[in-house]
């Protein structure tokens, strides 16, 4: 049971905020077969456990968009008040999110944005395009002295929006610059695949100035390939996400020059937002009595200079 938010997608007028009643909060993310998603899910679970007023139900087994939609529909059968969803793909999960909103279940959209503004109550997310862009800008600056800078891109899984946006942001940032991307191959967010692809790219390119990778986990494999080839002094590399391992590597100095935050902690925030929305509450540090519609997190560039500041958020 619990309060049912009135209207389309909850968020009643302020003043009725009551955190004493128990609310049922759903949570769904794609199957946790990767470190970042693992952190997202455990972050959400830990956050939910902190609140006595939350009955938490989650479904994280979807290995594609349709399966996740199925899981969410099953979740929705359990008298939810609100749900936080990190979709496999924003557009593909929009119909089910819309369905939930229409049924009066408030949807908090994490990360990959739904294609309709009425399909979610609040969106909180990182900035995939921003990651690509920040990486591009970072490398532009680092490689500014070179006449022609040779850069390699190791992508995520081909065919999903995350990969797509991280490539698009990067390409837009470096367009018309001195940077030439000589190889662009998917590493499937997987250290082994990243390593293998990089091993061959190292063969085909006698000189490389920098490697832009889409993911910190995967970057570890890429770094290892470069190290195995004894060429770690020749180039720099950037990751993405902000894993603890990456932070440590950045701190050590060396090839791992930067990463760009895409912190899974956002899922914990989303659970909390769902709780507040279900209660009809606002965010305590804001003057508004309601939760805002959009919360965009910055794809902060973490380098050796500022890594101390962000280390604690590493996952």
């Amino acid at each position: 049971g619990g309060t049912t938010p009135s209207g389309s997608g909850g968020g009643t007028a302020g003043g009725e905020c009551d955190e004493s009643e128990t609310v049922t909060i759903g949570f769904s993310a794609p199957a946790a077969d990767h470190g970042w998603l693992g952190a997202v899910i455990s972050g959400a679970e830990e956050e939910a456990a902190l609140h006595d007023d939350v009955e938490f139900r989650s479904a994280n087994g979807g290995t594609d968009a349709d399966q996740q939609a199925n899981n969410i529909r099953t979740l929705a059968e359990q008298d939810l008040d609100a749900i936080a969803i990190l979709p496999y793909d924003g557009a593909a999960l929009t119909p089910v999110a819309q369905e939930l909103m229409d049924r009066g279940i408030a949807v908090i959209n994490i990360d990959r944005e739904f294609s309709s503004p009425t399909a979610f109550r609040t969106w909180i997310g990182g900035d995939n395009y921003g990651i690509g862009r920040s990486a591009g800008l970072f490398l532009l600056e680092e490689l500014a002295d070179l006449e022609e800078a040779i850069v390699v891109e190791i992508q995520g899984i081909a065919g999903i929006s995350v990969t797509d946006l991280r490539t698009a942001g990067f390409m837009d940032a470096i367009e018309g610059s001195n940077i030439t991307v000589v190889a662009s191959q998917p590493g499937d967010f997987n250290a082994d695949t990243g390593r293998e692809v990089m091993e061959t790219i190292l063969q085909a390119n006698e000189h490389i100035d920098a490697v832009y990778t889409h993911d910190d986990d995967m970057a570890e494999g890429v770094v290892q390939a470069i190290r195995n080839a004894g060429r770690e002094d020749e180039m720099i590399l950037t990751g993405a996400g902000g894993s603890a391992n990456a932070m440590a590597a950045i701190q050590e100095g060396g090839i791992y020059a930067a990463t760009f935050l895409y912190n899974p902690i956002m899922a914990a925030s989303a659970v909390n937002l769902a709780r507040l929305v279900a209660h009809g509450c606002g965010m305590s540090d804001l003057a508004e009595s309601q939760v805002p519609q959009r919360i965009q997190l910055d794809a902060t560039t973490v380098t050796q200079e500022n890594v101390d500041q962000y280390e604690q958020y590493g996952f």
């Binding site: 594609d64 349709d66 939609a69 059968e77 065919g159």
Partner: protein, 334 residues
Amino acid sequence: MTTATPESSRIRDWLRFVAANWRSYGLPIALLVIILIGTLTSRFFLVDTTEGGINIRWGNIVNILVQASVIGILAVGMTYVILTAGIDLSVGSVIALAGVAAATFGDFGAVVMVIVGVLTGLAVGVANGLLVTWGRVVPFIATLAMLTIARGLALTITGASPVRITDEAYIAIGAGQLFGVLPYVVIIFAAIVALGWFGLNRTVFGRQIYAVGGNRVAARLSGIPVRRTEFAVYAISGLCAGIAAVLVSARTATAQPSAGTGSELDAIAAVVVGGVSLFGGRGSLIGTLYGVLILTMITNIFVLQNISYDAQLIIKGAIILAAVMLQRRADQEE
């Protein structure tokens, strides 16, 4: 020579009967056990008795049927293929390719989109059929290659990004409901199962499929067009995958080049759990239906019970093994 006492022989007869007929009841029993577990562990599964009285959870029942539809439709086609002792690994990729193809024709209206999607599935099926019959490539490898190729094509067509679908009529195929109750998706699924059953059990073609799977040489020597039959089952499997692709893309209002990854294994698992022999010639569509429902309900219960993904994988693997072993026991001595 020893003769048993009447008493012990009666018990032995009874045990023999149970043993001999276990196979026919194994699947319903397995399904019942799962339904029981689901009902006992979650009040959201089928019936809710917590608030006094019996409160049937129609929402979740329809939900289970919807969820069964995609794998179910794939499994119908897969049953045809496996009954001829073949296998179709390409259906997962077809979900992607056919969905993407349909979405590409988004400006031409729902009818054209559906036709394009279904025909794309059929086309891949036809390619598989040609490879297996005319090309004499073993089905595992022919359809494995098509799995790769179809996924590649889906990525090429979309430039690796998901394609949004905006056609309302098309989306309604996935979201709409007859009388506001029964989703079209479920109706389509039911129709395909009915058609599939009729085809296998009542038509000459269906019996030819069993003959080809049961004894290829005998089928050929009886004048059965073995190649044509084989070709047809791959075409049918492709067609089913094309239909499934339309449903998936309609429901998600998006065509994704990564859709359906691994669905072929789910479909095969459902068919085999349903008692169809991978060596061909043996099994039924009713069995497949049981297999589909068992696997779908398990997933449904997983979600209701908030079971983590890793545990889901482990339990699912164990259940598949248990289901298959239950059926093999009775089969053992043949």
